[in-house]
Symmetry: C2
DNA sequence: CGTTAGTTTGACGGCACTCAAAAGTTGTGG
DNA sequence: CCACAACTTTTGAGTGCCGTCAAACTAACG
């Protein structure tokens, strides 16, 4: 029953994917831990993956068993309503945490599914208490990460219209991905446009129309999931709600 | 400079507002702490208030100095954009926490202001680390409260139209207030309708129209801030997106 | 090469926003 | 206690963004 049990690699074995050597160590749990502390952390972390695409890490109403950090790929958290419509709660990128939604009241509120291949680093829940007592820095770190990730998941609520929300979203994703693809304002989205639409709370058709409009205005270029921000200044204006009228005129 | 310094009551003095005797003790920090632990917690907590209405607890970009628990009243967190429009991030009711938005990156992202008279219980940030090391239960408790409060602040993103969002909001607020006003589905909103509109992301006019519609349909009655849920079943249908067509026909 | 999922484009209608004004409520000072 | 001012709420008219329905197109996969 354990999600992805068959993909689990040995947790205590050697130093494969050692936290101290991980490229994400400054974004993830280990930050501010010294070498002995890193080893203790490493001893309880279970490294999971690679998970295949569209594999559920947990489902809504599952018990709270662990906290996860994304090592590679992208995890989507979502719910569906009675009409079958999907609400995407957030996208979790490398270095970001997953599973807080069950810290209270002990049941997950969302489904979590991998978009493309994913790898995770997991701390079993029963170890968190004990570990954070021994590693004082971890406690504060988890608090900070939780705060950071929650604030990032509220991007969709800012912005009054579809164009502004998408502009904010693009800047947000770029900032979160840039430590991996650091070309000049160019990056690859890990999710479909339908996922984005469900996250930003509008229809796939509207999503497509907004993308087309921004392309016609030469503000971005989009080829499949490949996005390039051509005119960061104007996109920034849109994100701040100061729509440059030229943008919409060509509508 | 400290917000509300002039309203601060002595923190270590006697047992005024003792955590162990507080009506909110099971909803707030003390939960699961024994008597000696409660006293240690009580020793660092500063009790603030009563604050007058429209008093800022902190402002956006302030340093992270403390976590607050609402003891009485209601705190609104919000930001304003360049156009002067206000975005309400959340309402914090008795037993709920405040200040997590600055856990990372050490600056508050929102303004926090009292709606009506308010009382707070505050833990200075520098004490949290030390305290949670000594009181193991507190660490887990803060995590749980943080998770609980964050999930509550996302009510506004659920629901596709204004009527559904308001229905969800009313159920949410009722659930959070019911331990104080436990009359049959009747309660007093601590915030103005404009605040609610800014929270649910629509205009005050739309807010008023939706209220009027629900009153004409005899689903709720609203007199100023006094709300009574007359037809919980139909309101529940609306909240779930299964709009009973009778509701809207009288439009 | 056929199928499927994802994306784009068009037509149409409705919900919500804006602008505007009036009515009701609260708070203040005379 | 009353009058006035400031704020909140309500209601109306007109407009526009976005949702729905529908169909064509593209890319990906077996």
């Amino acid at each position: 029953m354990g999600p992805g049990a068959e993909f689990r690699t040995a947790s205590g074995s050697a130093f494969r994917h050692d936290c101290g050597l991980c490229a994400l160590r400054d974004w993830c749990w280990p930050r501010n831990l010294d070498q002995p502390q890193l080893q203790r952390l490493h001893a309880v972390i279970r490294q999971i993956g690679p998970l295949p695409s569209h594999h559920h890490v947990f489902r809504a109403n599952d018990r709270f068993t662990a906290l996860h950090a994304v090592r590679g790929g992208c995890i989507k958290t979502y719910t569906t309503d009675l009409g079958g419509h999907e609400y995407v709660h957030g996208f979790h990128l490398p270095g970001e945490l997953l599973g807080f939604d069950a810290a209270y009241p002990d049941r997950h509120r969302y489904n979590a599914i991998s978009l493309g291949e994913c790898s995770l680093c997991t701390i079993p829940y029963r170890d968190i208490d004990r570990l954070s007592r021994d590693l004082p820095g971890l406690q504060t770190r988890i608090l900070a990460l939780m705060s950071r990730d929650f604030s990032r998941q509220q991007v969709c609520t800012e912005g009054v219209d579809a164009t502004q929300r998408l502009a904010i979203f693009l800047f947000d994703v770029e900032a979160r991905l840039q430590r991996r693809f650091d070309g000049a304002h160019e990056f690859e989205l890990p999710m479909t446009r339908e996922d984005i639409a469900n996250y930003l709370r509008f229809s796939p058709e509207t999503m497509s129309r907004v993308i087309s409009k921004l392309q016609r205005a030469a503000i971005i270029s989009a080829n499949r999931r490949r996005i390039r921000l051509l005119d960061v200044a104007r996109l920034g204006m849109i994100a701040q709600g100061l729509k440059p009228q030229r943008v919409c005129s060509q509508n």
